[in-house]
Structure formats: structure tokens, C-alpha cells
């Protein structure tokens, strides 16, 4: 076949085009984030993004990963919807070729990704959703890792806190009606048995509920002397409004979903009475890593004048440490291969992080880097989550 001059030139250039594309792609290593970037918990997605971005820029300033490749963050909004989360994770892995997928605030989304991550052999790093079953999922090999709280441990912590601080003998729970609520229902039953506490009741409420007076009335009639609250900002705010309407002033100990939005604005006057769990606080004396992260956040986001302005701080803190640990795992693996990174997570060098110093944070028996010793109790002062005395 005789080629025209144009075809001849094209045949010479075509291999160059194919060669040049992988080269530029190989200069970077992508990390994906599937999180709520809109809706009630949009602030949680923003806070995770901030923590990851600060960490990624710090890593890149020191030369990146895998001998000079830049880490790049690629985000997708799951809208707190498991189906959208699954689609986003698949797209990030198959099209964007991310090395690891990070997750957001919603346990239902994270739970729905367990099979996806196993199928596509890509590690998942949870930085907020606390559902026990996310990491304890009976998968072998298990691709689900987490730098965050775990429901089962938080449930025990919440009951213990209500018992010790508020002398509560019959706590009642208000749980969001989704897999996260289910995870906590089991956790609370187990913890109540261990602590020899009789629960007054466990009530569910839907994410679209305008009013939860009916469920609260049942708990009140059952003799509840404190409320264990599990839900994200919008709907948990409706619970507080309903308690205010009932003039029912029992103490409220909450999981941390309420810190992912504007709870102080939405929940009415009782927002400041709620005590809730966190894995980190930017208040008080900070480690050198804490000072560095706060300075970076102030530099990047002009609205952050002080630590009061760091919204949804656990998202930022967990995401920062998780990104640092992931960069170490990628370097240890020497590749972006999912299976190799998964194995590298089990063999990380000691790392002095923001939340704590991590020594062998992950093992096949426990894929959660944080324990109940890393939990702190806070309440809202204005919009800031400040440790309780």
C-alpha cells in the first residue's frame, strides 16, 4: 500500500502521541475522594478536602511520591447517596486510575463500597464514616482501611460518658434510619450489656423527618434520662428542635455526625448542650504538626482567622494523617498497584502525625488506625467544637 505524504507523516507522529500520554500521566499519582460535597453534610466534604490538600502539598513540596511523582487529588460528590458513591468510585478507579479512594462522612456510602473496592482491588481509606462494618467486613483480603472513629468503640464511649458525667441510668437512643443507625444500634446493645446499663429504648428517625416528637415521647415515657444521638447535621438538628418543643432537658451525648454542617445554626438554642465525640481538637496546646497545619489552613483559607474558624475539624485532621500514611504506603509499595499498597499499609514506618504518633497503625486484625484512647469529648461554643472541661 502506498502512503500519501500526510498519511506517512501521521504514521510517524502517531506512536509519539501514544508515547507522550502515558509519560505525562506517570508524572503524577492520583488519590480519589468520594464524599458529600453537597447537601446537609457539604462542610464535611470540604473539611476532608482541606486536610488532604494541605497534606498533599506538603508531600509534593518534599518531592512527591515514588521518586518524584506528584500526588494529585481527584474529587467526586456522592451526594450522600450510596449508588452515586459506587459509580464515582468505579469511575475514579477505572478512568482516573487513582491509587487509593478516600471516603467521606456517610457510613451507607462507605458500606456500599466494600464490594467495589474488593472487586477492583483498590485500597479504600475512610477518614470520617464510623460504621463498624466498614473495616470489620469479613473480606479476605480486606481493602478497607480507616483513620477515624469506629462506631462500636464510640457507642461504648457515649454510654460511659452519659453514665459517668450525667449519672444516666437509662439512656435512650435516637438513631438515623440507615445502615449507620443500624451499626450504632448493635454497638449500643453490646456496650450496654458490657456496662450493665438498661437502655430505655432505641428509636429511629428518617432523614426527611420534620419533627421527631413522637419518637422522643416514647423514650420519655420509657424513662430515658439521657439521649444518645446518632445522625448527621440536618436531621439531628430536627431532634434538638423537637426536644426544645417538648421542654425535655435531659443531657444529649452525640456521635460526631453533627459536626459535619451548621449544627449551631440549625438546631435551635439547645445546640450548645450537646456533648459529642471527636478524634482531634485544634484548641489548646498543639504539637509542632498541629501548629504547622493550623498555619497552613490560615494561609490557604482567608476566612480562617483562628482555630474557631476551622469547621468540621475531625474531617481535616483525619484526612491529613490518612493522606500522610497513604503516601508512606505508596512509597513502601514502590508502585500504584492496589494489592501492593494494601500490603504496604501493614508495614508502615513510624510516623509522627497530627492526631498521634502511628506505630504499625494497621494489621490484618485491625484496619483502624485510631482507638478509643484517641477520642475526645467536645461541645459547641459558637460554631467551634471546643473540648469540654
Amino acid at each position: 500500500m502506498k502512503l500519501t505524504p500526510t498519511q506517512y507523516l501521521g504514521s510517524l507522529l502517531l506512536p509519539l502521541v501514544f508515547l507522550s500520554t502515558p509519560t505525562s500521566a506517570q508524572e503524577q499519582v492520583k488519590i480519589g475522594l468520594v464524599a458529600a460535597l453537597s447537601g446537609d453534610s457539604a462542610l464535611s466534604g470540604e473539611s476532608i478536602t482541606r486536610g488532604m490538600t494541605v497534606a498533599i502539598d506538603e508531600i509534593n513540596a518534599k518531592g512527591g511520591v515514588l521518586g518524584g511523582k506528584k500526588l494529585v487529588l481527584v474529587r467526586r460528590d456522592d451526594e450522600s447517596n450510596p449508588a452515586k458513591g459506587q459509580l464515582a468510585a468505579r469511575e475514579l478507579i477505572e478512568k482516573e486510575k487513582v491509587a487509593v479512594v478516600f471516603g467521606g462522612i456517610d457510613t451507607p456510602v462507605s458500606m456500599s463500597l466494600i464490594n467495589v473496592m474488593s472487586e477492583l482491588k483498590t485500597p479504600y481509606m475512610g477518614v470520617w464514616a464510623a460504621g463498624t462494618g466498614i473495616t470489620n467486613n469479613n473480606k479476605n483480603p480486606n481493602y478497607m482501611f480507616r483513620v477515624s472513629a469506629v462506631d462500636e468503640r464510640v457507642d461504648a464511649g457515649m454510654l460511659k460518658y452519659a453514665q459517668d458525667k450525667f449519672k444516666s441510668k437509662r439512656p435512650g437512643s435516637m438513631l438515623v434510619n440507615n445502615p449507620w443507625g443500624d451499626s450504632n444500634m448493635k454497638g449500643l446493645e453490646k456496650a450496654a450489656a458490657a456496662l450493665n446499663i438498661t437502655l430505655a429504648g432505641q428509636e429511629k428517625y428518617n432523614v426527611n423527618d420534620i419533627d421527631t416528637t413522637a419518637q422522643l415521647t416514647r423514650l420519655k415515657n420509657a424513662g430515658a434520662d439521657s439521649i444518645i444521638l446518632v445522625g448527621n447535621t440536618g436531621v439531628a438538628a430536627q431532634v434538638m428542635k423537637s426536644m426544645e418543643r417538648m421542654n425535655w432537658n435531659v443531657p444529649v451525648v452525640s456521635h460526631w455526625g453533627i459536626s459535619g454542617g451548621r449544627f449551631d445554626e440549625l438546631a435551635g438554642p439547645r445546640y450548645k448542650d450537646v456533648v459529642f465525640v471527636q478524634t482531634y481538637s485544634f484548641f489548646g496546646k498543639q504539637s509542632p504538626v498541629g501548629d504547622k497545619v493550623i498555619a497552613e489552613l490560615k494561609k490557604r483559607y482567608p476566612e480562617i482567622k483562628g482555630v474557631n474558624d476551622i469547621v468540621a475539624p475531625v474531617g481535616t485532621a483525619n484526612a491529613y494523617d490518612a493522606t500522610m500514611l497513604t503516601a508512606l504506603a505508596i512509597n513502601k509499595a514502590g508502585s500504584t498497584n492496589g494489592e501492593k499498597i494494601r500490603e504496604a499499609y501493614y508495614d508502615l514506618p513510624e510516623y509522627k502525625g497530627l492526631i498521634k504518633t502511628y506505630k504499625k497503625p494497621f494489621s490484618a486484625e485491625s484496619q483502624d488506625a485510631l482507638t478509643d484512647r484517641d477520642y475526645i469529648w467536645v461541645h459547641f461554643v459558637g460554631n467551634a467544637a471546643v473540648p469540654v472541661n
Binding site: 429511629k204 413522637a214 419518637q215 415521647t217 447535621t233 418543643r245 421542654n247 454542617g261
Partner: protein, 290 residues
């Protein structure tokens, strides 16, 4: 034993369903069409109220009429661009186009207003008062009062005014009404304006209870339509009573059973009622000429 708190909460929510159900009723009787974007219009009313009253600081007596005006304008737009073109072609595609308009509106608000819910701080109506050992938000008295007043006004309008009689004439026989010199086209526009203004009003009323967000109207709009069907979409009192009843029923179910049963029993009730009363509880059987 059902507590007063539970009943009042159901009454207030039900009144919102009732107001929206009246909106569905008004357009249906005049034009045989329904604006399925009323839920989104409720959200639009709440968002506009937040912007004008909370963010810009406009007095409530200026903000409320402005919201009613904007919501009414929305009705004109829906009628002109999302209903009329399809009716002229004897198509029922207005059904889909009004749903599409609601989705478009919701997403425009999401982009412009923001992704997160916001609250409207109105201490004078959002702090509960005590009555018979129950806490009641003053707004929960206002919502049913507004609903009943609106239904009464609509009834008076239809019985005592020329416009009302024209509406009734157009509803009964469109062609005969046109022959009588009634401008049916303008009446349909009016019906849409009134229905969306009602939705805007409902949005303002529920905003202090529910907080304001782009997605706040979808489920309410759906339940309000269920109430309109249960009550009989051709009956204004039926729509209001069914709306209030639906809210109270939901509240009682939630008080007695796990909350997941609320939607199951609520929509289950709709199906059962329609089996035995296909035209709704207060509806009349339609007359078909062949």
C-alpha cells in the same frame, strides 16, 4: 395515649400539605392540569424568604409580599412555557415538563443559594410556648390558621365574586365559558399564579420549622399531592382536610410504630382509599360525555 405535642406537630405539618394540595386543586379544576413543581416552588418561597428577610434584612411585611409576588411569577412561567404548549397539542406532557421544571429550579437554587441548609432565626415564632404540659411553636398555630383562612377565601371567591363564578364556569365547561365571553386563558394563568403563590406561602411558613435547603420541598410536594388525591382533587375543602388529616395520621403512626411505618402506612392508606373511593373522600364522580 397520643400526646398533645404529637397532635400539634401533625396538625402543623398537615396544614402545609393542605396548602399545597389546594394549589394542585386550583389548577386542576380550571385547566385539568397539575403543576408537579409545587414542592420545588415551596422550596423557592422558603429560599426567597431567607434571602430577603434573613440575609438582606428586609422587614417581614415587605419580604412576605415580595415572596408571594416572586412565587406567583413562577406560576406564570410554568403555565406559559411548561404547560400551555403541551395543552395546545392535546398532550399530557405537561406532567413531565412540570416535574422537569421542579428539578431545574431545585438545581438552580442548589448552585446559587448553596448546598447546605440554613436556618431562619425568628424567635417570636420559633420558640415554643407551654400549653397543657405540651410545647407548641406559635408558628404551629399560624400554619393551620393560614390554611383554613386560604381555603375559606377560595370558597368565598368561588361563590361570591365574578372571577370565582367565571372560574367555576370554566371548570364545568370550558367551551361554554368561552362562548359566554369568559377569558379562560387568563383564568388559567390566574389559577397558576394563585397556586404557586400558595406554595411560596407554605414555604415561608415551614421554613422556621424545617430550615431552608434546595431539597426541602420534594417529599412535601409528593405527600401534598397524595393528600389532594385522598381528599378529592376537585374539592377545595377536601384537599385541606385530607392534608391536615394526612399530617396528623403520619404523626400518630410515628408515635405508635417505628418511623419507617409512617411512609408505608401513609401511602398504603392512599391506595386503600382510592380502591373504595376512586375520586377521593370528598370528590365527585366526573361526568364523561360520549
Amino acid at each position: 395515649m397520643i400526646s398533645l405535642d404529637v397532635l400539634i406537630a401533625g396538625l402543623a405539618t398537615g396544614s402545609i400539605y393542605g396548602l399545597l394540595a389546594l394549589g394542585y386543586h386550583i389548577t386542576f379544576v380550571v385547566s385539568n392540569t397539575v403543576n408537579f413543581s409545587l414542592g420545588a416552588t415551596l422550596m423557592f418561597g422558603a429560599v426567597m424568604f431567607y434571602e430577603l428577610h434573613t440575609r438582606l434584612g428586609l422587614d417581614i411585611f415587605i419580604a412576605v409580599p415580595l415572596v408571594l409576588l416572586f412565587s406567583g411569577l413562577l406560576g406564570m412561567i410554568v403555565e406559559r412555557f411548561f404547560v400551555r404548549p403541551f395543552c395546545q397539542n392535546n398532550s399530557v406532557s405537561w406532567l413531565l415538563s412540570t416535574i422537569a421544571f421542579g428539578i431545574i429550579l431545585e438545581n438552580i437554587v442548589r448552585f446559587t443559594f448553596g448546598q447546605e441548609p440554613r436556618s431562619i432565626p425568628m424567635p417570636s415564632i420559633s420558640e415554643p410556648i407551654r400549653l397543657f404540659n405540651a410545647g407548641i411553636y406559635p408558628i404551629e398555630f399560624i400554619i393551620p390558621a393560614v390554611g383554613i383562612s386560604v381555603a375559606l377565601m377560595l370558597w368565598l371567591l368561588s361563590k361570591k365574586t365574578i372571577v370565582g363564578r367565571a372560574l367555576l364556569a370554566a371548570a364545568q365547561n370550558r367551551d361554554a365559558a368561552i362562548l359566554q365571553g369568559i377569558n379562560v386563558k387568563k383564568l388559567i394563568i390566574l389559577a397558576y399564579v394563585v397556586s404557586t403563590a400558595l406554595a411560596g406561602l407554605a414555604g415561608m411558613l415551614i421554613a422556621p420549622k424545617l430550615n431552608v435547603s434546595a431539597g426541602m420541598g420534594t417529599l412535601i410536594g409528593l405527600k401534598a399531592f397524595a393528600a389532594a388525591i385522598i381528599g378529592g382533587i376537585l374539592s377545595a375543602p377536601g384537599c385541606l382536610v385530607a392534608g391536615i388529616g394526612y399530617g396528623v395520621f403520619e404523626s400518630i403512626v410515628a408515635a405508635q410504630l417505628p418511623s419507617a411505618f409512617r411512609e408505608i402506612l401513609g401511602f398504603g392508606l392512599l391506595i386503600i382509599i382510592l380502591i373504595f373511593k376512586p375520586n377521593g373522600l370528598f370528590g365527585k364522580k366526573g361526568v364523561y360525555k360520549v
